[in-house]
């Protein structure tokens, strides 16, 4: 501890200043640096996905084909879907915030397997670049769902390469999930009992379970598609006796739980932000914690609701419908509890809080419209229409992306030790919120009117809604740019902040510096308080 005296005047070495070479980043096993690597890579993927969306939104502004050829349009929406789902939505919160925060929040020096963690990032990049290669070298036009036999026999595009890319990336999710489960089980600091864990950790834990158990099924399924297409094996192709509906079962067995892989970490973020900006313990902590596990569990048994018109048996559909409604209950509990947390709180509408409240509003709409799709008779009408497109964007973008931005703004000062411009951050949040609603709300109406998804040209009846949607998309894009500029500017001109600028509870705010030390903590960590104890005066000392 003899360097303690030195640190009085010289700034302490933190994880950001611990080496500046490219190698010190690319070979770092520090979970915080790996989190930043994910942040950079993922932002690039997100930008590409957003550009693809902007292009086909432009095309869809009018009913005729006027900007893009049909083939280009198909390749763009496929690229958008694959990039956003596999390279943004799934890894965003676990890869960036999870990596950065899970060890710090539980009082550990690192994740259980730091080298494996770095390997996960490389696997993610390898998969991402392979998929990107497939998109650049001619593209892929199957939609992100890779439905057979179109993908395995008929499509004339880079299915094998893209499928391989997604397959590779799957192992990144599996290994990250495995790492987090072990870390949360075995690496907690003394006194950090399960019931003292922040809800963000509970959410990461539930997500990781789905990652470890669901992703391998997607992996083998995509591998079978690659074999069928590349080697001519008969697996799903009816011409060889195969059943294309089996593909859908295997695909959705992973891809429905994947929805929870995307949204559960968002739930975790929302719990942290609401607690901090209303200075209250999350109402019904245990219910919120266990509802994450309940969602993860039941979520494995609802996949068939994607297939009500696929020719699966009506009785299977009946069971899937019932279970889908059940999964809505724990979700409803979470929303009620977040709302109740605000009651008699001390509420501040900071930028992360605006994103979070935006999340609740949009996720509510997403969840409610989910009921329309869980109901069998209405599902038959609405499935494969724009209603579904709007529904899952309300959940994935309105829910997950808003939560991700909430989390990014919330922990930004912790990650980089700098405060961003609060005014512009709020403007960004507001523009994104309104732009989002402009983009996707009209699609509910178009969908109920019968407009099928993935249409390049369409009936004039739907044009007003599509025009609104396109206008909204560009508004939303503007909001995202404001957000990006605000955050990047903060690194250059932002005011330095202390350990706990928001006076939040949690080890990351109270025991770690901003930005944290390479080993996270400079003193031994012992937990002696419950989660979200906002009456603990120690949290108000440092800013």
């Amino acid at each position: 501890m003899n360097d303690a005296a030195v640190s009085e005047d010289a700034p302490r070495i933190n994880y950001l200043t611990n080496g500046f070479s490219v190698k010190s980043w690319l070979l770092s096993v520090d979970h915080k640096r790996i989190g930043i690597l994910y942040l950079i890579a993922m932002t690039c993927f997100f930008a590409l996905g957003a550009v693809a969306a902007g292009l086909f939104r432009l095309e869809l502004a009018t009913a005729e084909a006027d900007v893009l050829a049909n083939d280009t349009y198909n390749k763009l929406f496929t690229a958008h879907g694959i990039i956003m789902v596999f390279f943004f939505l799934i890894p965003a919160v676990p890869g960036v915030l999870g990596n950065f925060l899970v060890p710090i929040m539980i009082g550990a020096k690192d994740v259980a397997f730091p080298r494996l963690n770095l390997a996960s990032w490389y696997i993610y990049m390898a998969g991402g670049l392979t998929t990107l290669g497939a998109i650049m070298l001619g593209g892929i036009d199957t939609g992100w769902t890779f439905y057979t036999p179109y993908s395995s026999v008929y499509a004339d595009s880079n299915v094998i390469m893209a499928g391989t890319g997604v397959f590779i990336t799957g192992f990144s999710s599996i290994l990250t999930g495995l790492n987090f489960i072990v870390t949360i089980h075995k690496m907690r600091a003394p006194g950090m009992t399960w019931m003292r864990l922040p809800l963000f950790i509970w959410a990461q834990y539930a997500t990781s379970i789905i990652n470890v158990l669901g992703t391998p099924v997607l992996a083998i399924t995509l591998l079978l598609v690659v074999f069928e297409r590349g080697l001519g094996f008969g697996i799903f192709d009816p011409a060889r006796g195969g059943d294309p509906v089996l593909y859908q079962h295997l695909f959705w067995f992973y891809s429905h739980p994947a929805v929870y892989i995307m949204i559960l970490p968002g739930f975790g973020v929302v719990s942290e932000v609401i607690a901090c900006f209303s200075r209250k313990r999350i109402y019904g902590y245990e219910f919120v914690a266990f509802s994450s596990l309940a969602i993860a569990g039941i979520g494995f048994f609802v996949w068939g609701h994607h297939m009500f018109v696929s020719s699966q048996s009506e009785y299977a559909a009946l069971i899937f419908s019932a279970l889908t409604f059940l999964v809505g209950i724990p979700t409803a509990i979470k929303i009620f509890n977040w709302t109740a947390t605000l009651y008699k709180g001390s509420v501040v509408l900071s930028a992360p809080m605006l994103y979070t409240l935006g999340f609740i509003g949009l996720f509510l709409v997403g969840g409610m419209t989910g009921l329309f799709l869980a109901t069998m008779a209405t599902n038959v009408h609405l499935t494969d229409t724009y209603f579904v497109v709007a529904h899952f964007h309300y959940v994935m973008v309105g829910g997950m992306m808003m939560a991700w931005l909430a989390g990014l703004h919330f922990w930004w000062p912790k990650m980089f030790g700098k405060l961003y411009n609060e005014f512009w951050a709020k403007v960004g949040a507001a523009v994104i919120f309104f732009g989002f609603n402009f983009t996707f709300f009209p699609q509910f109406i178009a969908g109920n009117m019968g407009m099928p998804r993935r249409y390049h040209v369409y009936d004039l009846d739907y044009q007003p809604f599509q025009m609104l949607s396109t206008a909204g998309a560009f508004l939303m894009g503007t909001g995202l740019l404001i957000c990006l500029i605000t955050l990047v500017m903060s690194l250059i001109t932002g005011k330095k902040c202390g350990r706990n600028p928001f006076h939040a509870t949690g080890l990351e705010w109270n025991k770690a510096d901003s930005p944290p030390d390479t080993h996270n903590f400079t003193e031994p960590v012992n937990v002696d308080v419950e989660a979200y104890d906002y009456t603990d005066e120690r949290i108000y000392r440092d800013a």
Partner: protein, 233 residues
């Protein structure tokens, strides 16, 4: 810095981010079991496809299984069980820090693995000769002829049963994935043997050997499932 505050001495093989050796051991063991869980789900997708197609095309499955060489399959099963036993003995030797024995039993495991591949090669090449590899080398006429020759007594095949290509596709994917896991196992085994030879392990620290044992047993168990499903039905 935080090291200075720890009141216990670090063993050289304890990684700095763990507080104690016990924590490290428990963590890696849990990690290995979780990895096995995902492996089960990975093969689970294949078993699901197998089950559904077998229900849809029972005749193809019967004819396909009858065409397999039961003798070679049985020998291979015994060979793999032998290799698993050999790994058990290697782990036992590691517990007593008997470096020579560890290396000996690892070699034996690898040798048995090679025997397995040799037999597998004979089986695969027979399929190649009979034009029974879907998509790559398949001929209805040849395939039918081979199936008729191997059909069980009292069973007469007029034409190829529907879904026969599915059976062979799944046969190759499942045994192929199993073989891939064995090849990965070979790589791991060489690495561990090198570490053993360098003297990285002692009687209280030999996790790599133990975990390799778990992995190899898993690969063995997959075969124990594949063998009856593909050869016996």
């Amino acid at each position: 810095m935080s090291h200075a505050t720890s009141d216990h001495a670090h063993k050289p093989y304890q990684q700095h981010h763990f507080e104690s050796m016990q924590q490290q051991t428990q963590s890696t063991l849990l990690g290995i079991w979780l990895f096995m869980a995902q492996e089960i789900l990975f093969f689970g997708g294949l078993f699901a496809a197998y089950t559904i197609y077998r229900i849809l095309h029972p005749a193809a499955w019967e004819a396909g299984a009858a065409s397999q060489n039961l003798l070679l399959g049985t020998i291979n099963t015994i060979v793999l069980i032998g290799s698993s036993l050999s790994i058990v003995l290697a782990v036992h030797a590691a517990r007593h820090a008997d470096k020579a024995k560890v290396l000996k039993f690892f070699s034996l495991t690898l040798f048995l693995g090679l025997v397995f591949f040799g037999i597998k090669y004979v089986e695969y090449s027979a399929k190649w000769d009979h034009h029974m590899i879907p998509g790559i080398r398949w001929d209805d006429h040849h395939a039918l002829h081979t199936l008729q020759q191997h059909a069980h007594a009292g069973q007469h095949l007029e034409e190829l049963p529907s879904g026969i290509q599915l059976y062979y596709s799944l046969y190759f994917v499942m045994t192929g994935m199993h073989a891939l896991h064995m090849i990965i196992g070979f790589g791991l085994a060489f690495w561990i043997m090198a570490k053993t030879a360098k003297g990285c392990f002692n009687e209280e620290y030999y996790p790599h050997i133990e975990y390799f044992g778990i992995y190899w047993h898993f690969v063995d168990v997959v075969w124990i499932f594949l063998f009856p499903l593909l050869y016996l039905v």
